[in-house]
Every structure is written in structure tokens, then in C-alpha cells.
Amino acid sequence: MRSQGRKVYMVSGGVTKFAKATPDMDFRLRTKKAFDYALNDAGISLKDIDGSVASYFADHFQRQLMSGIMAQDYLGLTPKPSKRIEGGGATGGLAFQTGFEEVSSGRMDTCAVYGFESMSHVNTWKGNEFIALASDTNFDYPVGGFYTGYYALMAVRHMHEFGTTVEQLAKVSIKNHGNAIHNPYSQSPMKLTVEDVRNSPMVSYPLTRLDVCTMSDGAAVAILADEEKAFEMSDNPVLVKSIGTGTDTMRLSDRPFLKVPLLPNEKESDYRNLKYPGIHSFRAGRTAAKEAYEAAGITDPLDEIDVVELHDAYTSSEVQTYEDLGLCKYGEGGSFIEEGKSALNGKVAVNPSGGLLACGHPVGATGIMQAVFMFWQLQHSLKKHFGNDKLQVNGAKRGLIHSHAGTGTYVTVSIMEAVK
């Protein structure tokens, strides 16, 4: 086992309201608003920040290279240390973990992790083209050129392997859009039925418009600190207990057909005939969960985790991710949502915020947004930040945040724990 490093706490966070387009602010001002919210909430100021990590995905969206330093500059953080982290959809999760490493290693006592994306500078279909350039441009982009298409291929195979149904997928959309009704930061709160989801325009069979997240403008900030600084700044910080990261091949077509890497609560006999990961499961997600669980001493995730904010860019990927995280066995993801186990008052609340489906997905901000919502959950301060406590999970002690790139190429899992 490697060195544990110093304990790292989250002491504050801020998020802008995600929206399809907010042309009255650019990425710098949006990030500044989220940053000031976080500073004010903790009662700290610029001088308390030792350095930062910048999180954003695509230079294409704004045709502005080095946006990171422009945000650093606008926030007044120059000449302090900073770097840009990029890893597709998992950019925010990777940046959060980089901030963790900066504090854990002792390099910084406090680190501001800020993320942003401004996707409204191009139309939706051009945006889809930019996102699809994050697939192999020799073999994948010229054929499919569309991420919803890639996820639909995985969803069809998941349905074939495990009997998952489109109605079960629709229930993820209903849950997450419904939770978002109580989240004032969300982009698309909606009360939906299975018929609404199935009757909305087909994007890529079997995924409809309401099975897929939207593009957004947004920013989010998480402030991390070592133990001494954390308790100086806050009487209720949240411990970042452990981090885990996994990777997989860029091309979906290269995924092997091997055995499941087992969690402590699984047996080899559970998966006798399953070829893994194939295209039905995310090996990077399982790898990330395994690393994070081992470091946190989690052996039965469903029993030991109270809240999850996971990367539901598609309803199908939420179902796939239940299984990767070991909230249920591989193959049981469809019944897991159907039986209400991931509902707000279920066995484990998954995406109480509304997730990407309903909050929006300004890529570089998304993984940090998850950290902020989880921080408020575990501080039991949602009422203060949302103006209502409808989404507060009673007695939430331990949470998991999950960020995910490509067709499952980079996946991060971070475990957070309440101190109070």
C-alpha cells in the first residue's frame, strides 16, 4: 500500500446556475461568481488560497487556448501555482482529484479547484461534432461521429446481456429530472412519465431526447484544505476520504472480453458466463471504485454509502454505473432503478441533485458541481444553499462522486465523509 499522505477536507464550494446559454457572462465571470460564493460561504479570502487547478474540456468551444490562465488571472490568483487538467467528461473529477493530491502531498495547504465550460458558442450539432472528436478520428469519428450513437450501442448490448428494458432506462430520467425540481441550480427540472420519455424524439435507438443530457454554460468551484486549515476555516468541513481512477481503451471496439474484477461482496460464481467488460460495462468505473473502496475500507458499498452523485450523461450509463460501483451485481442495474433503490428515499440516493440529465453538463464544471452538491449534502446544509431541504438525505454520512469520460475511458470515484 502506498503512502496515505495528509488528510484532505473540502471546506467550501460554489456553483453557477447551469443554463443552455448565458451570453451576459463569459467563463471568467461565471467562475468568479462560483469562486466568490465559495469564499464568502467559508468566510475566507484570496490570501487564504495557496494554489489552484483549472478544469475545462474543449478549447474548441470558445476557440480560446489557455482559458485556464485567463480564469486564474481574473480570479486574482496569479502568481500562485496552477495547472490545467483535461480528461473529457471526467475532467472535473480528475481536477478534483488533482486538488486532493496537491493538498495530500503537502505542496499546498489550500487548493481551489475551479471548472467551467461555455458550450453555447456553437450550435448543438457543432457541439456534438466537437465532443465526437473525443473519439478515434481514424476509425470512430468518420463512421459514427456521435456520442449518443456510441452509448446507444452499449445500451442495446446491455439490454441483450441482462434483459434491461427501455422503461427501466426511462425511470432514471423520471427520477433525476424529478429530483431537480427542488434544485434551484438545475437546468431542466421536469415531472415526467415513462410515456413522456419514450415519446420524446428518438436521438439514437433506443435513447430518446429525455435519455440524454444537455449542453450547458456553467462553472463550479471546490476549495480543499489540509486538516489544520480546514478546521480553522470551517466547523463543518467534509473529509475527502479516498480517491480512485480507472482507464479503458479509447475505441469501444477494442474492449476485451475477460473476467470481472471482483469487489469484496462479489464471488467469481456470480459471473460465470459473463464476458467482461465487452461494451456493456465500464471497466474503468469498476477499477476506480475498487481503488477508492480499498483505500476507504468499504466492503459493502450499498450498505456503507448513503448518497451518490454519478455521471448520468445517459440514462443507460446510470444503470451501467450502478453495477460498476457494486451498488448491485452486474445485470441487476435495470431492476435496481425499477425497484426504487436509487430513489431519494431509496436504499442509496443516486443523483439527488438531478445529475447531468437535469442539472446540465458544462463538461469541465460537471465533476466539481457533483463535489459541491455532495459537500452540501454531507454538511447537511442543502437548505441554506437550495432554499429548501427536500433533497437533503437524512443522516447522510458517506457519499460517492463519480466522473466519467468518453465511452468510459477515464473514470474517477471519490469518497467523501461527514465529520459531524
Partner: protein, 169 residues
């Protein structure tokens, strides 16, 4: 040496397309031609013109992992791979129909995507399929590779159609 206090910058009448005044939103145009090399993957693309679908196989005798989508080094053991010709027939591993897409492909929608598995090959291949409706497609459906006569040196120079065997089902 030239010191000219009356110097005046030349003006253009190109103007700028404006979408909104407050905040000021303008059109900013950008386009580029890349000099894209297929590099070590080149043989895959040139072989399509000879109606050959090429994959690779790991040269390490203790490994021998085979790839339906070529890569010149093995992801399992790191050894070099060699080119192999894939069978012209395969089966649908998974499928979808895209009704929307990236801007570059919008005019081609709706289109089917399939992942193709080949007998004896360890990984699969992404391709377009024509000649069937979504409700006709199923996992395990036998399909056949076809090649465009006029190459565009894109992976879509090969595409798949249902095999005549599929009619018998």
C-alpha cells in the same frame, strides 16, 4: 526613418455579422484543412480499395490477441502486431440507428451503426450498415462486408449489409 503623425489605418468594408447588441454577440468564422496522416494505420485504408478488410494480430506467440480494428502494438502484452485479412462475413455484436448526429453527418441521418464480430477475432469493428430497418436488426445477425468502388480513404469505404442467410430466419 518615417515619423508620420497623420498615419491612418486602412479600413475595410467587410463589417461583422451581429446577433445581439447587449451583450454584444458577433459571428466569428473559423475553418481549417488539416494535413492528416493515417501513419501506421495507412494499410487499413489502402487495402479497402482492394476489397480487403485488414485487422492485426499480436506477434508474441504467447499472446496472439487479434484485433478487428487494427492497432500496431498489442494492448495486452505490448508486443508488435502484424496485418491479417479479416473474413468478409461477420455478425452484429450491437447496433443502433442515429436520427441526429454531429453537424458533419446530420445530412446522412438516419443511419445504422453496428459493431461487427468476426469468427476467431478477439475484438470488434465499428461500421455503417444499410439494407435493413431498425426492427430487422438483431444481435447475432449475419452480415457481409461491401466496399465502395470509389474510395474516399475513410473507414466508411467499407460498410455492411445483411447476409442472404438472414433472409432465411
Amino acid at each position: 526613418m518615417t515619423i508620420n503623425p497623420n498615419a491612418k489605418m486602412e479600413e475595410s468594408q467587410d463589417g461583422t455579422e451581429v446577433y445581439n447588441i447587449d451583450p454584444l454577440i458577433v459571428k466569428s468564422h473559423y475553418e481549417i484543412d488539416y494535413i492528416h496522416s493515417y501513419a501506421q494505420d495507412s494499410r487499413f485504408f489502402t487495402s479497402l480499395g482492394k476489397k480487403k478488410l485488414m485487422g492485426t494480430r499480436c506477434k508474441n506467440p504467447n499472446c496472439g490477441y487479434s484485433y478487428a480494428t487494427p492497432r500496431m502494438h498489442c494492448m495486452i502484452c505490448g508486443s508488435e502486431t502484424e496485418w491479417i485479412e479479416l473474413p468478409g462475413k461477420g455478425k452484429i455484436h450491437s447496433y443502433t440507428t442515429c436520427y441526429f448526429g454531429s453537424e458533419a453527418f446530420l445530412k446522412e441521418t438516419p443511419f445504422h451503426l453496428v459493431l461487427v464480430e468476426f469468427e476467431g477475432i478477439d475484438s470488434v469493428f465499428l461500421a455503417r450498415l444499410i439494407g435493413a430497418d431498425t426492427e430487422d436488426l438483431y444481435i447475432g445477425m449475419p452480415i457481409v462486408a461491401k466496399f465502395k468502388r470509389l474510395q474516399s480513404f475513410s473507414p466508411t469505404d467499407v460498410y455492411f449489409v445483411p447476409s442472404a442467410e438472414a433472409l432465411k430466419k
